[in-house]
């Protein structure tokens, strides 16, 4: 910790948040909000005079509320930077008449009640996300009596009570009477591996070994202590872990296979009575304990959404961040130049976090050392011959990569290739078909539509899927071997925003019974908000179908994330059923109506061209 604070190459922004990220690999532009600290961190010598005079006392978060701190405080003695901070919510008022005691005593005058948030802009080539995790709050498990009984604590609270730097100076005492307990129990999997809707279904990975460690600490500090662990399965799979587990057993710690159904408090002794079915013996047991520790699980960061959206990261159904590939690219995010490390990806212990962080740093170094990188050639280009200067494309582009056209000056728009991310929304929205997407051209996609709707079109579901989410969701279904009907025929585009109206209409004209457009959930859109255009276009298409007397439900829309293999398979099953409801007559009717429409449009075009020719002649 100290090292990073001192490192000449590291610029530390504490009490700060990333407010905005724009740009692309190698060229990210980041805005950081340095929240007001009200204490000049460079000047502060951590002399503690200010805190001495501060009249406010609030529970100390770091000590899990076991002790109190002042409104001006240092989070913990080894904090980096080693400086005080003033919490304005706790302060009596930044009005010196109200208080102002701390500023009076600070000899270095580093306290400034009018301190303001500051925005800092930086440019970076790579981003590593290591936003961490939160711990599960076990209050929901009412039968364990957490918050109802003083002597039921969580594993995080345990850490502070056993710590020499903690509120009790390392004396492990129980809250009700400040006595050192002799009989201590631990309940595992609190909020983890849960099937009843409370907590989370996954294993939190660290709590088994954390409890083993806790029992060893207890045995070490208080020889003769009686510790009991109630568990479903003990998971001690890491290097050296089994040794620790065995040592704990040798020290006399009792491991009871079974999760208590009920905890009651003896009002007199404040001891806790547990009822548990020992699943090894099948017998109902009762245990009396003086103190109970709930081994709380790990949960995704509750405030992680804003960063996730800024970096267009996807999350799994658990809420942890999705990696680019679970085996082959475990620390890369799908977006180039962004990497992930630590518990933001999944619950893990210190060693695994460090390992993953080093891996992410090494992967990032590849780009930094190279000093340059290639951008996939999938950007857009304007055909100036076809453009009629309407200006729609410039409005559509989520990246502002298109400069406005000028109708009067007949100036077509220009596209800044470096800013274009290649979503293709502009190409799909351009009424003139004047935008060419490199590698995802209209002809290329139309050729796929024709090829897929050629044989037995009446049996197949034509699916458009976006590269990042729904296509990856299909991959996910495959990896999980989820079975679904064979009717789907899929075309991949980078973004659902690329799916032009004419692709869909052409499929129907060729005899497709149903078309599915699928893409990312709005929050996951890899092109900021290109997915909005998909939604608007779908409304337009449904209206069009309706007007032509074509059943609107033959065109479906689904948002499927990269982690939603289940949903992908489910959608395929449901739509297969719907395909069966489309009759041959319906398909014939559609083909006829659309062929007529096309003929009409052609005629109109010709007339216009003719009129144009006459005018110019």
């Amino acid at each position: 910790m100290m090292d990073v604070g001192r490192h000449p190459k590291v610029e530390l922004f504490t009490n700060s948040e990333v407010e905005n990220v724009t740009g692309f690999v190698g060229n990210f532009n980041v805005t950081i909000r340095k929240k007001a600290r009200y204490v000049d961190a460079n000047e502060c010598t951590a002399c503690a005079e200010c805190a001495k005079v501060c009249p406010v006392a609030v529970p100390d978060e770091y000590q899990q509320g076991f002790s109190s701190r002042k409104a001006i405080y240092m989070p913990f003695p080894q904090a980096v930077p080693s400086a005080y901070i003033l919490n304005m919510d706790n302060c009596l008022g930044n009005n010196p008449i109200a208080c102002g005691k701390c500023a009076d005593v600070c000899e270095k005058h580093c306290i400034n009640y009018d301190d303001q948030d500051e925005l800092v802009n930086i440019e970076v080539g790579v981003v590593i996300t290591a936003t961490g995790m939160d711990v599960y709050d076990p209050t929901e498990y009412d039968e364990y009596g957490y918050t109802r009984f003083d002597n039921v604590i969580t594993s995080m609270e345990f850490e502070r009570l056993i710590c020499a730097g903690g509120p009790t100076e390392g004396h492990f005492i129980r809250p009700s009477d400040r006595k050192i307990p002799q009989k201590i129990g631990f309940i595992q999997c609190v909020g983890s591996r849960s099937q009843d809707g409370r907590g989370n279904p996954y294993c939190s990975n660290i709590c088994c070994m954390n409890t083993v460690k806790d029992t060893l600490l207890l045995c070490d500090h208080y020889p003769g202590v009686e510790a009991k662990v109630f568990y479903m399965d003990m998971r001690a799979f890491g290097k050296g872990f089994e040794d620790l587990y065995m040592r704990s057993k040798e020290e006399g710690v009792k491991y009871v296979r079974g999760i208590p159904g009920d905890v009651v408090e003896d009002p007199e002794t404040r001891n806790l009575l547990l009822t548990v079915e020992n699943t090894t013996t099948g017998k109902l047991e009762k245990h009396e304990l003086e103190m109970l520790v709930l081994s709380q699980g790990v949960i995704p960061r509750q405030d992680g959404d804003s960063i996730r959206k800024l970096l267009t990261l996807s999350q799994t159904s658990d809420g942890f961040i999705m990696e680019s590939h679970p085996k082959l690219k475990p620390v890369d995010a799908p977006t180039k130049g962004i990497f992930i490390a630590g518990c933001v990806e999944s619950p893990k212990d210190v060693k695994d976090s460090v390992t993953q962080a080093s891996a992410a740093a090494a992967r990032a170094s590849i780009l930094l050392n190279a000093g340059k990188t290639k951008i996939e050639a999938i950007t857009s280009q304007v055909d100036t011959e076809l453009c009629n200067f309407c200006g729609i494309c410039a409005k559509v582009c989520p990246y502002n990569a298109i400069s406005a056209s000028d109708r009067k000056a007949e100036k077509p728009p220009t596209i800044i290739a470096a800013a274009c991310a290649g979503c293709g929304a502009c190409a799909a929205e351009c009424p003139q078909d004047a935008i060419l997407m490199r590698h995802f051209r209209d002809e290329q996609i139309m050729a796929q539509v024709e090829a897929l709707v050629k044989d037995d079109p009446e049996k197949h579901l034509l699916t458009f899927a976006c590269n990042w989410c729904s296509y990856a969701g299909g991959d996910n279904a495959g990896t999980a071997r989820l079975q679904y009907p064979t009717s789907s025929r899929l075309i991949r585009t980078m973004c659902s925003g690329r799916v032009d109206e004419k692709f869909v209409m052409h499929a129907f004209k060729m005899g497709a019974p149903m078309v599915l457009v699928s893409g990312c959930h709005f929050a996951d859109c890899h092109y900021i908000n290109a997915v909005h255009w998909t939604q608007k276009r779908m409304d337009r298409l449904w209206n069009k179908l309706d007007k032509l007397g074509i059943r609107v439900d033959r065109l479906q829309l689904e948002w499927i994330s990269a982690a939603e293999g289940q949903k992908f398979a489910k959608v395929m099953r449901e739509l297969e059923e719907r395909v069966q409801t489309v009759t041959d007559e319906e398909i014939e009717h559609t083909k006829k109506v659309l062929a007529e429409e096309e003929a009409k449009a052609e005629a109109k075009k010709k007339k216009k061209a003719k009129a144009g020719a006459e005018v110019s002649a």
Binding site: M1, D3, V4, H7, K9, L12, F13, T14, S16, E17, G26, N27, V30, Y62, Q64, Q78, I85, I122, V124, V126, I128, A130, T131, E159, G166, L244, D303, A341, G342, C343, V344, D349, V350, K351, S353, V354, Q356, A357, A360, L368, K374, I375, E376, A377, T379, T384, E385, A447, A451, L452, D455, H460, G474, D475, T479, L482, Q483, T486, R489, L490
Partner: protein, 203 residues
């Protein structure tokens, strides 16, 4: 103008059908798919491989590009998310523009999800290859733009992972910006007394 890329002499498409061991061949009749591929427009060469992504498989592609003067390559194997870069590199090594390569997903999107419907899966596989070849006929060579990489990193989060990543990058000589929401770095780890497996202090 520059958009009008000239059409190549004559299209010569090579199709490479991958068995992926039994991952694909266990469900899909790969020989039938290969035979079918031969009937597709502009396809001049079809090769079936046990593992197209392995060295021997890649060598087959390179060899065929030279021997059959291929100017389009279609590989029908797994998801492009894993091996598209592999095969793009492979065709580039043989002198073909990487954007003249097209991938068809017979594994994640077909064999793995239709394991009990072998016939229908084979029909679907043929359709998918047909679509890939149809698209390949319209592919054009592309030149990738190169962009500079700013030699600085942003690390978000000052817990144990963020600290380690920042230190590694900084020790490697790179400028690092470490952003932490809380007034101090340290994260959850700083609140732990001792940590396993070494049972030593966390800070």
């Amino acid at each position: 103008m520059a958009l009008e890329l000239k059409k190549p002499e004559k299209l010569r498409i090579g199709v490479f059908v991958c068995e992926c061991g039994l991952n694909i061949a266990g469900t899909i009749d790969c020989s039938a798919v290969s035979e079918y591929s031969k009937t597709l427009e502009d396809v001049v060469c079809v090769v079936q491989n046990k593992y197209t992504c392995a060295d021997p498989g890649q060598n087959e592609i390179k060899k065929a590009i030279v021997e059959h003067k291929l100017n389009r390559v279609v590989v029908a194997s797994c998801t492009p998310k894993i091996h598209e870069p592999t095969f793009r590199q492979c065709v580039a090594d043989a002198g073909l523009n990487p954007y003249l390569f097209e991938m068809v997903n017979l594994r994640e999107h077909c064999s793995w999800v239709h394991q009990t419907e072998k016939e229908k899966a084979t029909e679907k596989a043929k359709d998918l290859v047909r679509s890939g070849v149809a698209r390949a006929r319209f592919l054009e060579p592309q030149i990738e733009a190169e962009v500079p990489v700013t030699k600085a990193a942003l690390v978000i989060g000052g817990g144990v992972a963020g600290i380690q990543a920042a230190l590694d990058l900084a020790d490697g000589g790179h400028k690092v910006f470490l952003v932490e929401k809380e007034p101090t770095i340290g994260g959850i780890m700083a609140a732990l007394d001792k940590t396993y497996p070494t049972m030593d202090c966390s800070i």
